[in-house]
């Protein structure tokens, strides 16, 4: 279980996250909604340890991880995909996935054996490529594939580390309807033992995959509930849905 307790973050007096508390159960699909500047990406920075909270606590699987750095949090199974593609541009898709798989399985400390030849790593590359539908392009250079494929790889890099908690920052940002369908399919097919937090702007996708939805506005939690409850809530409609539609 991921437990966020009274989390706050300020940048030079500006409060980006304000007294935020919520819990995500194991295996849950939690969608984070909120207008631009609501602090969603900052929340992800705080959860992954890229930035440290000004106050408050984060605990995951029963341990307090507030003081843990990004590397430490990644190694206990928290993975993240980025809103802007953050890939290994001059390497192939296979090499990208191989790096993720080696990093997550400690093969970065192998000084003699070639991690890319290891059976575990190989199957993981193939499985992940299958999941994100990139199997037939494994040997393409990342800087030569389409934007949509890169979005898929972005998620693939996070998946290849076999996370138990996956934070996805707008996986469908900038892609067309066909690709959104693919992502929908991908999210549906992910094993239920992965807990997923997802920032998503596509309402249909968000409402159909979410178990629960947390709505942020100006760094504060303004609502939390099931998709149906969220749809019916007046505040949410006003600050978010009203603005979007």
């Amino acid at each position: 279980m991921l437990k966020v307790d009274q989390l706050s973050k300020d940048f030079g007096g500006l409060q980006v996250i304000r007294d935020l508390s919520f819990q995500v159960a194991d295996g849950e699909r939690r969608v984070i909604l909120g207008p631009n500047g609501a602090g969603k990406t900052t929340l992800f920075h705080l959860l992954t340890g890229v930035k440290q909270a000004s106050s408050g606590n984060i605990s995951y699987a029963g341990t307090d991880i507030s003081a843990m750095d990004a590397v430490g949090r990644a190694s206990i199974g928290i993975a993240r995909s980025y809103q802007k593609n953050n890939l290994f541009e001059n390497l192939t898709i296979r090499e990208n996935l191989m790096l993720a798989a080696s990093a997550a399985t400690g093969k970065s400390n192998w000084f003699i054996r070639d991690a890319s030849l290891h059976a575990d790593v190989k199957t993981r590359i193939e499985e992940t490529a299958e999941m994100v539908a990139l199997s037939d392009q494994l040997d393409m250079m990342v800087n030569a594939i389409s934007y949509g494929n890169r979005r898929q790889l972005e998620v693939g890099l996070a998946l290849a580390t076999k996370p138990s908690l996956l934070l996805m920052d707008e996986p469908t940002s900038g892609v067309g309807p066909a690709m959104i369908d693919r992502f929908h399919h991908l999210l549906d097919s992910l094993p239920r033992d992965i807990t997923i937090l997802i920032i998503e702007h596509d309402m249909d996708l968000a409402f159909s995959i979410a178990d629960r939805i947390t709505v942020l506005n100006f760094g504060e939690k303004v609502f939390e509930g099931t998709p149906a409850e969220t749809r019916g809530n007046a505040t949410v409609r006003q600050i978010y849905l009203g603005e979007a539609k």
């Binding site: 992954t48 993240r80 290994f88 541009e89 790096l99 970065s108 054996r113 991690a115 890099l157």
Partner: protein, 336 residues
């Protein structure tokens, strides 16, 4: 990402074969040149390891080499240790210094990394330059070569020494290529490509970079031990920053990020130097012009360029993707 392609194996065999033959059938002078080439080539492989694959363009590799040579000489000449333990300690000193530099500079990049390594290198240079006990700018002599008579080898024979040097060069290449193909080396390339993402996937990149510098320091240390054994005399000149600059030149000239390119770069530079110095006193200028041209020509280096051409020649069929304009670029990066 590093792959020991057939082309690279062939190029390495040709280069080492050439050195061995040149030493075997050449004069005493040729053998001296071969030793000079092997020292520079080992140093260049060591720099290519961290600069070409890890993105750490160091300007202190001369100093790392010099530290190994100095510690080896101090132990052997000043303290009278046998040569093998002295050499081990020299290598250890190089590894520690280099790893320390890598650790301290792990959070800097680009020009700041270059400047930082320049500073650490010059610090070591100044230390030895000013040290009266170690002979200051006069350096130290009195070094003797390894006694390998139990193997039936006499290192005081120029040919034996040159061939052994070529052997060590081969060994260092093998060590570097194994490291680069290992999980560690792959992740090192990943850090070069995108350090931030590598961290997000749970890799302690600072530790990784420091370790990579330490490995590189081991190879540079090998060059230092051979250099001390070669001239039987060392001076702070070994550590000066222009030596490191020259090593970087060799790496670029041969082909950065190819591992075998630096060996070829070293052959070209030393041969060119010796040929030119027969005709003119001003060969530095020609070296400078060659360096500028090498960078202006795209910075792929002699071997790097040949690799790109040959790859294009042997794989002429256009791949299924309609990406012709970027194709050559992809290849070059693939090889890097």
């Amino acid at each position: 990402m590093f792959y020991q392609t057939h082309l690279r194996s062939i190029a390495l065999i040709l280069a080492l074969g050439f050195l061995a033959i040149y030493a075997s059938f050449g004069s005493y002078f040729a053998r001296e040149i071969v030793v000079e080439i092997t020292i520079l080539a080992i140093l260049a492989i060591s720099l290519d390891f961290c600069a070409g694959f890890g993105g750490m363009v160091s300007l202190c590799h001369g100093a790392i080499m010099g530290i190994a040579a100095y510690v080896f000489t101090i132990m052997g000449v000043k303290l009278g240790w046998p040569s093998l333990p002295s050499a081990t300690l020299g290598l250890l000193a190089a590894v520690l210094f280099s790893g320390m530099v890598g650790w301290v500079t792990a959070r800097t990049s680009g020009i700041f990394f270059i400047m930082a390594t320049l500073a650490f290198g010059q610090m070591a240079y100044t230390f030895f330059f000013k040290s009266r006990w170690l002979g200051g700018d006069d350096g130290m002599g009195g070094i003797s070569r390894f006694d390998l008579s139990w193997l039936g080898l006499d290192l005081n024979d120029a040919l034996v020494f040159a061939l052994l040097g070529v052997g060590v060069l081969f060994l260092v290449y093998v060590v570097a290529s194994i490291l680069l193909r290992s999980g560690f080396g792959r992740v090192l390339c990943g850090i070069h490509s995108n350090e931030n993402r590598m961290q997000a996937m749970g890799v302690n990149t600072a530790k990784h970079k420091a370790l990579a510098m330490a490995c590189s320091g081991f190879m540079a240390g090998m060059a230092g031990i051979i250099a001390a054994q070669h001239t039987l005399y060392i001076s702070p000149e070994l550590l000066i920053w222009t030596v490191s600059g020259e090593v970087l030149l060799v790496v670029i000239l041969g082909g950065i990020g190819t591992l075998v390119g630096p060996v070829i770069g070293a052959i070209i530079l030393i041969m060119m130097k010796h040929e030119l110095s027969n005709y003119t006193d001003y060969w530095h200028m020609i070296v400078g012009v060659v360096l500028i041209l090498a960078v202006l020509a795209g910075g792929r280096g002699v071997y790097g360029q040949i690799e790109v051409w040959l790859e294009a020649f042997f794989k002429p069929q256009a791949p299924k993707e309609p990406k012709e304009p970027t194709e050559s670029k992809e290849k070059e990066q693939d090889l890097a």
